[in-house]
Amino acid sequence: MNKFSKLILPIFLGVLLFTACDPTGEERPQGVYDAGVLILNEGAFGANDGEVFHLNSTTAILSPNLFEKVNARPFAGLLEDLVLEEDRLYLVANTGKVEVVQPGDFKSIGGVEKDLNQPRSLATARGKLFISDYGPYDANYNTPSSYVAVVQGLDGGVVKKKILVSSKPEDLYAFGSYVFVAGSEGKKVEILDANAELLFKSLEMPGQPVQFLELNGELWVFCYDAQKVYFVSISKSGLSQTKIQSFPVAQATGRIAQGDNDTFYLLTSSGWPDYKDGITVISLATGILTTDWKKGTGFYGIGFDPKKQQIYLANAKGFQGNGEVTVYQKSGAEVSKLEVGRGPSGFLFR
């Protein structure tokens, strides 16, 4: 090895270690927010004070209001979902917009500002954005005109098409040229052709599908009804339902976190008037069910940190002010409590 190699190789390796490649081939340094935990704070209805907080997993420093801090303007929306795809972070506001930021530093790079009603989630496919949207309420507060909005370009832009789907679409999952839509109220998974931008196929579900999950390379969708929860496997190649595993979990809320070893953490709630919340733990592999792993009120979101093997529980505290996040070990032991923004509802672990 010559002198040049001795000098350059470690530098080259060091640069490789601390940079990531983006689709354009340009090297991007590791950003402040490329590691740690992003905390979604939904905000309060009528206040539009949703925001993202960042928890540095090493220093335990909590940084509030990332979007406003970096972009010098408020997020101004109810933050429904946070989606990391194509080296972009999409902030979906159910008040009618999507903001696109760089994941490492939260700098705004675009967005979808108009022609959305109540966006819920987002997926990217074929260089386009697919945004699930409840659509407008009718006179009886139903949503018969729900759709998936299509935007050409990954950095946002204008809505070019709205593909009508069943009422109240939630999570999206893109695979190849297909976009799977969890049609919660219609109890079906609808499959869109991302090229033709058309509804391609519908699969009936045993309950309300709300969340897609990847498990051992397979696509699953989590569904629930008043008495049970269902994990439904969908063949990505055959575009058909392959198997169902159901569990007698009553009063599931649709909020779920995927742990390790096929373990899932579900939020349950008796709702009004008793209002008893809980966490149920399900092992898909063994079928073991643990109800009321934790009990309380105000549970509003749950997450699992795969690196630290910790469970994050969000409590909205009645939306009166700051919410609270409690971190647990898998044993159930409490690790810490954090005061976060208003209406914490989910987590993105980097």
Partner: protein, 612 residues
């Protein structure tokens, strides 16, 4: 004060032959002045009300008093906050009948046009013993007055202004020795097409508001009749209708529509004996609120009997009964309810130096007897001279707010087991007056209040439900100074006000300032007149306030200034043509009252009135 003297003169000095002057009938008005010793009162004179003629009650209170008005946009919901309490802790009355919605338990000041009132009086502190339900933080009393003099009187007023504002009002009255009529009509069209920076969008582009159109119209008909030397009748009917596009919060694309319609009718009969006076009040109130096509209607019938006696020994005594019948037909429930309240007031004066008032009230609603409500006040003139007067004031009292019909019956979520909210209030004050070429008065009040069982709506899964959970401790200082003087032909008037309000939620161990409760507020004004020409300059400041409990997000304080120019010398034959031009938000300040609610920048208004 003039009104109080006028009332007193009526009771003590009016001769039986005096049939020309009609006394005004109004249970609350007499009680407000006569039995509220030691409490803080603000009365607005006619000139001040005239300056706000094309604006709302909310604007008047925000800019000239210690009240913080939470405005949800231009022409949108405006709710008062007295001494750090919520909108539901303010009682509002028009000619003695309650204006607060029985389903919501509060009023929207933006749909209480000042054309509908001739007098505005504001009372601070808990005074449920005097005014009943909801008078925890304070109360606002609107009332109408008969036209002065005999014969026909009338006026026509037209205001035009920025953002498409057009407002027309008409008043016509006729009086004889025994009968007086007055009719008022008004109409307001306010497209609110102001420009604002949309800070929710990249680059914060300038936008024009396109969903805040406000229309309001209404009519008032009144009759004063003196059928005999001892008897008087006053009848008032008010119809008001407002239609609004609800201005969305920045970042939202909602297109909500709201229509409010109110019909209020009140009849007061008063019979005067040698030292006492009987009063009967009957009223009907109908409110309809339509939100995005959903109708919510409520009705109230009120019947009251009141007896007041004034003895030569400077004692005043009052007692009465009031029954209220309520019906509510809302989108999620229908209910009827009756309430009964008995009250008693005593007032005593010693040589015009000391006055004491004691008020007691017992209120009952279905299956509940609200705790007995006393209130005690004292005023003592420590110094009383021809040119100088120093007055010490103190008052203590309890307040109460019954759970609203929505709190108890909204389906789903209503909680029939709620307890009434309760408050304890105490205040101390000094008032110094100096008369002379430079006349001034200063008033400093310290108050302390505790509100317990404060009702908060909380989510219980997807359904929100109210609970008695919050305990709030408030204390603060209110300072107000007014002065007037003359230099040559120039007449000057100045006012200055400052309020410090500490409003802490003590529900949990760590106390926190309540959201949207500024610790600091202030206002100042200067009016200068030369003959028929007058210039007024006013400004107010609202301090920083958090948007949620314990929130790190704090809105900046803001200060706004207004400038007005009036000329009252124009005449054509017997018609007077007063003209007024004003600039609002002179310095084009960008501000938010509530988070992400756009507010207009500088605007102009021109008003021309024809008065017969």
């Amino acid at each position: 004060m003039t009104f109080a003297l006028w009332c007193v003169s009526l009771f003590y000095f009016a001769s039986p032959q005096d049939t020309v002057v009609l006394a005004e009938v109004g249970v609350h008005a007499a009680a407000l002045d006569r039995f509220s010793a030691g409490q803080t009162l603000i009365s607005y004179d006619k000139n001040t009300l005239a300056r706000y003629a094309a604006r709302s009650l909310g604007d008047l209170l925000q800019e000239t008093s210690p009240i913080f008005v939470r405005q949800y946009g231009a022409g949108m919901l405006a709710s008062p906050s007295f001494r750090g309490t919520s909108a539901g802790h303010t009682a509002l009355f028009w000619n003695g009948i309650p204006l607060n919605s029985i389903s919501l338990g509060q009023s929207d000041l933006s749909i209480l046009p000042l054309q509908a009132t001739d007098r505005v009086e504001v009372h601070f502190g808990s005074a449920a013993a005097l005014f009943g339900n909801e008078a925890i933080g304070g109360s606002v009393h609107l009332s109408t007055a008969p036209p002065k003099g005999r014969g026909f009187q009338g006026s026509l007023s037209q205001t035009v202004g920025s953002f498409g504002l057009a407002q027309t009002s008409m008043t016509a009255g006729y009086g004889t020795a025994k009968v007086r009529f007055q009719s008022k009509l008004y109409r307001q069209n306010q497209p609110n097409t102001f420009r604002y920076r949309d800070i929710s969008r990249a680059g914060a582009p300038w936008e024009q508001e396109d969903h805040a159109h406000f229309r309001q119209q209404g009519a008032i008909q009144e009759l004063w009749w003196q059928p005999s030397l001892r008897a008087q009748v006053k009848a008032s009917v008010w119809f008001n209708q407002a239609e609004r596009e609800i201005q969305p919060v920045l970042g939202s694309n909602s297109e909500d529509l709201q229509e409010d319609e109110s019909f209020r009718a009140v009849v007061d009969y008063q019979y005067q004996q040698r030292q006492s006076i009987w009063k009967i009040k009957g009223a009907l109130i109908q409110d309809r609120l339509q939100f995005n096509g959903q109708n919510n209607q409520t009705q109230q019938g009120i019947l009251g009997l009141d007896w007041e006696r004034h003895s030569a020994g400077n004692w005043a005594f009052r007692m009465g009964l009031r029954g209220t019948w309520m019906t509510a037909n809302l989108s999620t429930y229908s209910v009827t309810e009756q309430r009964l309240e008995a009250y008693q007031s005593m007032g005593w004066e010693l040589e015009d130096r000391i006055s004491v008032s004691l008020n007691l009230r017992q209120l009952a609603y279905p299956n509940e007897l609200v705790p007995f409500l006393p209130g005690l006040g004292l005023e003592w003139k420590l110094v009383q001279g021809e040119r100088r007067e120093l007055l010490f004031k103190t008052a203590v009292g309890l307040g109460v707010k019954l759970p609203t019909l929505n709190d108890r019956y909204w389906n789903p979520g209503g909680n029939p087991n709620l307890r009434p909210e309760k408050s304890k209030n105490g205040e101390l004050g000094l008032q110094l007056k100096q008369k002379g070429t430079f006349t001034w008065s200063q008033r400093l009040t310290y108050y302390r209040m505790k509100v317990d069982d404060w009702i908060i709506w909380l989510p219980k899964g997807a359904i929100w439900s109210p609970e008695n959970i919050r305990e709030v401790h408030n204390q603060g200082l209110e300072y107000q100074a007014n002065s007037s003087w003359t230099t040559g032909n120039w007449n000057w008037q100045a006012n200055l006000g400052y309020t410090y309000s500490r409003t802490r939620d003590r529900t949990e161990e760590e106390s926190q300032q309540l959201p949207y409760s500024p610790e600091h507020q202030g206002n100042a004004g200067l009016q200068l007149s030369l003959g028929d020409l007058a210039i007024d300059f006013s400004g107010f400041y609202v301090g920083p306030r958090s948007i949620a409990m314990g929130s790190s997000r704090v809105l900046d304080g803001y200060a706004l200034c207004n400038l007005g120019l009036s000329f009252s010398g124009a005449k054509w034959k017997s018609i007077q043509l007063p003209l007024r031009f004003q600039v609002l938000n002179v310095f084009n300040q960008s501000y938010e009252v509530l988070y992400l609610r756009a507010m207009p920048g500088r605007s102009y208004q021109l008003n021309l009135t024809l008065t017969l």
